[in-house]
Symmetry: C2
Subunit: 325 residues, 2 copies
């Protein structure tokens, strides 16, 4: 019989760190790597982009559904998406980790490996963090980025007449979650994997900024909910064209899963979160950068913040609220 | 009867955020404040210092012992100390927060107020974060700093002949914890408060760098344990002079509490953590900057990493290890 992994409580803190560090990339912007009181990271632009996201066991992931590697990749990816959504290139992240003593050491090693897998291809360093015991797994990632001389792309800059465009997947993560919850992973393993580990179009963020995007955000809580946020911040109405047409590729992909579960594809497209696609607006004369597809247009503020195919979205769920009723 | 505070679960996420933000300072280096995908902070030096620390309920604090305000101040302070220990000036922090649904909203407001109290006088902005529900309170702070053109002061730079110096309190937090654990807050309320909220000498960090400190670190796990870390990193032995003499002010302050509990003051001086003082080394010809007192000297590496009054430290506890036996 194979030996079981030791538990976190069987190791001294330094021994656990010694198992984690080999998995973590340093990144070419890292001037002082982990091991001191703090890291030092190049910020040649004279500004640094900073964002933070927390994953909590049984709120954002389940150990029965996701390996440590998947959780690590996801924790990195969703933060890298937030950096990209400012039009910046990610440079470095730090990780605050809370681990119950009975967690297998192999799970924590997997987490580190997943963080490394996400960061290494983007030359992002994992430059430090903190490790604590506690009753529940918590992964708190802070990510940093470089604007490379460009202004940040905020939520506030879109104007009537702009083109609304989306990069990345839409509805996949929501569908994957629904398949897992229904015990129907057999229907589409790729959708389930898209829930476990989002694949945000990180490179599309700086590309959008270079192309002159007027506003951008990361779709973490669903197209409608995040679209409303951008519309509110910019004082406009976002008019989404018919989803079945402008998101036809996603519809095609999601339809078998929707039929298997007896739900409407449109719910996943409009309210499914956590794909971490990038929703951006561009002046009408701009050629969309690679990865973006046009999905609608920006109008003067009307009665609704968001229109879907010319009409108000139907009442019902528009996304995810952690604390709300 | 006064109305009870509502619980976190009674509010929508945005309503809770609306109660938190008024307490948080923006800071003059903040170019894009909270509310977008990420913040943008000035990093005029072309480098940014980054550090992260996690506080977990019942591991690092108890709600019965500390108010939300105290926990918020402490979470900020210990991170600001890490930035200072690199010789940098703190600029901004982000906060990942996990909050059980039954937490009183007033506790979370207090936490935000404590973060603000610590940051505002130092012109440090609280530039964002993330909020999640979860079964235990977790406060994960990532702090950032500006080296202002100076090289970072690492753990690796001390040389034989250097003066060893300490800024800040020594042993107070450990004593305060012991008083609380024994139910003897009456003996010295200031020591108890020093445990609840450390007062690291943040300004002494950049001052040490300007004065030419060769190495520095934040004393979070006790003088012996952190001294060993510096000695190991630099390949030297740190020779601490007789603590009763060089730390006489702390000894005077700690003696009544030690007598009340029947413990040795030296245990708190040498092994008590979490005061977040700054241990630094300076070339022998340097005038120590304000806040630092000489506590020993640096020698060629001998059999011991740290000597206390010329002798090896007596066996026993040398500090805090979260996971170790």
């Amino acid at each position: 019989m194979p030996a079981e992994s030791p538990r976190v409580r069987d190791l001294a803190e330094q021994d656990l760190l010694d198992r984690i560090f080999p998995h973590l990339p340093v990144g070419s912007r890292t001037l002082v790597p982990p091991g001191d009181d703090a890291a030092v990271v190049a910020a040649a632009d004279g500004r640094v982009v900073i964002t933070c996201d927390v994953l909590v066991e049984d709120v954002h992931f389940r150990r029965a559904w996701s390996t440590g590697t998947a959780v690590g990749r996801r924790a990195a990816m969703q933060n890298l998406a937030d950096v990209a959504a400012m039009g910046a290139r990610p440079t470095a992240l730090v990780v605050g980790l809370v681990v119950p003593g009975d967690t297998p050491v192999s799970w924590v090693e997997g987490l580190a490996q997943g963080l490394g897998d996400a960061c290494r291809p983007l030359d992002v360093g994992v430059v430090g963090g903190d490790l604590s015991s506690g009753p529940v797994l918590v992964v708190s990632v802070t990510a940093h980025g470089d604007l490379e001389g460009r202004p940040p792309v905020r939520r506030t800059g879109t104007r009537p007449g702009d083109v609304l465009a989306l990069a990345g997947r839409c509805g996949w993560s929501g569908a994957g979650w629904a398949l897992l919850a229904a015990g129907r992973e057999d229907v589409d393993a790729d959708l389930v994997e898209a829930y476990r580990v989002p694949e945000p179009p990180v490179a599309a963020g700086p590309a959008a900024a270079r192309a002159g995007a007027t506003a951008m955000l990361d779709v973490s809580d669903g197209l409608l909910r995040d679209g409303r946020r951008m519309a509110r911040a910019s004082g406009v109405t976002l008019a989404l064209d018919a989803p079945a047409r402008v998101l036809a590729d996603d519809v095609r992909r999601l339809r078998p899963a929707a039929e298997a579960l007896g739900v409407a594809v449109e719910d996943w497209l409009l309210a499914g979160g956590e794909d971490h696609g990038l929703l951006a607006t561009f002046p009408p004369d701009v050629a969309l950068p690679p990865g973006f597809r046009p999905v609608g247009s920006v109008r003067e503020r009307g009665d609704e913040l968001v229109l879907v195919d010319g009409a108000p979205p139907r009442p019902g769920s528009v996304g995810w609220d952690h604390f709300g009723a």
